[in-house]
Symmetry: C2
Subunit: 318 residues, 2 copies
């Protein structure tokens, strides 16, 4: 005969309601009681049949996150922050990485929905989400806009690009490379480049823009950068993300008159290990917190109206 | 009336069996047919009710991964590789990070089981899994042993420690700090330290071992390292992981006579950005591939016997 919640309650010497609260992670339960219930569940080999419960209840206390990759410390930190804030609200977080492939995004989106996550935070780089009818589904975007009804959280990419360009001009650099980590249309990187160009075009500079393929492996990107640097000389190389800046630095740091290298993102990882890198700091923690707040609010009240865009201020590391 | 699989099949002009194969990701489906079925599902707002199907079928084509954190590039690369290999086998991967907190591991383990993942790959640092009765559940461990029945995949930590120590001795370093990134008993780091000490103890050296707290944030670790370096001088600092080595390097690289810094892990990220770092390379890709192979074999045949430990050879970067 299968073990039931009644058996667990009896073994743990608590009420069925208490076992249910532990399983569903609802309401206050003391550590001692929680431990007793878990012990009884383990002893009896009882696994709450959430698949069955899901058919009755929509409260799974689980959120899905879809990110393009974890290569970039920006995404690791964003996820760690989202996980932390959702844990405080008693939500669990499942992460999928799509490598920007629309087909994988489609699969993971279906998987998360089938597992009845209550909402999704995505930083999808492909156009898959744009083609969906998502108006009724709680979803928050990081760093790009899907539709008017889906809130998007990002930093002020245009201003970030302008601020970096002003430092370059102030340091009297003339021969400038803008090195972009992506070729995608939708990418926030384009606003960073536009911001830089809006400053550079007003002064006497020679500016070249080269885009790498976002989906290339680190090693392929490094080879492409090596090729560019071997045939050109620049006074400054403005990278549209820190990872690209670090790859460039791995070549230039040992040069006698290295160019000035700048980045964008300012993750704690990069700031801690490369405190000398001039870069734009996105407020990753506060952005993650707002995305969680918006998503939980949208789950509680799907009819509530939100802004289409939440744009965070940025600052330079130097 | 709710939309059914029949409606989707009719709209896509394919058979019900074809729609089912697309949804369940089973058997060969051409890209064209897959696209037609997805389009029909989107148009009709049809979400396959996997929660309901799960009650009938155990084949969810989903694997869960539990990692301590994503701070360390080793874990990001391990996950990316696991995701890639499982995708080839038509499996999807869900990631949870536990921050080594037994309570969070417990919650995520329950969540993954409730979502009926077919198996779990874990690099759990807490003792939670050891206390579980997991004999019948497909699970593979990275870098630590849970029980005799659960295969564990790791690199030859002891030999890695020995190899690094031999280089230190060869370079005639006498005053040595072993800086460990963790205080945990179960940690593979202890074998690395034992390997180092087995070499150092035979020669005239002055060796000190200091352990940092694994769960500390990067900034706290950096402060602790700063404090150690401000009061002691060493000829060599042997770190038990690359992340700790990079933190030490961020202080010592600008010194006139910097100590020799060594690491352990050798992720592509670290090797690409810090090609000069002397470190031990774990074969992350092949280890991830074996874990996936073992797990899928165990899912297909739970009675099959495996080795308790699979120990991969290591090499130095220099």
């Amino acid at each position: 005969m299968p073990v039931t919640i009644k058996d667990v309650a009896k073994s743990a010497q608590v009420s069925i309601a208490t076992v249910s609260r532990v399983i569903n992670n609802k309401g206050y339960i003391s550590q001692k009681t929680r431990k007793k219930v878990y012990q009884a569940m383990n002893q009896l080999h009882y696994t709450p049949n959430i698949a069955a419960r899901k058919l009755q209840s929509k409260h799974t206390a689980t959120i899905g996150v879809i990110l393009p990759s974890l290569d970039n410390p920006l995404y690791s930190e964003l996820f760690e922050n989202v996980e932390k804030y959702l844990a405080v609200a008693n939500y669990q977080t499942l992460l999928c990485t799509s490598n920007n492939q629309p087909e994988r995004e489609q699969k993971y989106f279906s998987l998360l929905q089938a597992n009845q996550v209550e909402g999704i935070i995505t930083s999808s780089h492909s156009k898959f989400f744009i083609q969906q009818d998502l108006n009724n589904y709680p979803i928050i975007c990081f760093d790009r806009s899907i539709s008017k009804n889906i809130p998007s959280v990002r930093s002020n990419n245009y201003l970030g690009g302008q601020k970096i360009a002003k430092v370059i001009i102030h340091k009297n650099k003339k021969n400038i490379l803008i090195l972009s980590g992506s070729k995608e249309d939708l990418n926030p990187i384009n606003d960073r480049i536009k911001g830089m160009l809006s400053i550079f075009q007003n002064v006497d500079t020679n500016v070249q823009t080269i885009a790498l393929d976002f989906d290339s492996s680190l090693l392929v990107k490094k080879l492409l950068i090596q090729k560019i640097l071997s045939t050109h000389h620049f006074d400054a190389i403005c990278c549209t993300d820190d990872l690209t800046a670090l790859l460039v630095l791995s070549f230039t740091k040992s040069q006698n008159h290295p160019p000035l290298i700048t980045g964008y993102d300012g993750s704690t990882f990069v700031q801690t290990l490369f405190p000398d890198l001039l870069t734009v700091k996105q407020p990753i923690g506060p952005m993650a917190e707002l995305m969680c707040d918006l998503l939980l609010a949208k789950i509680q009240n799907p009819q509530q109206n939100f802004e289409t865009e939440y744009v965070f201020p940025i600052s330079l590391t130097q």
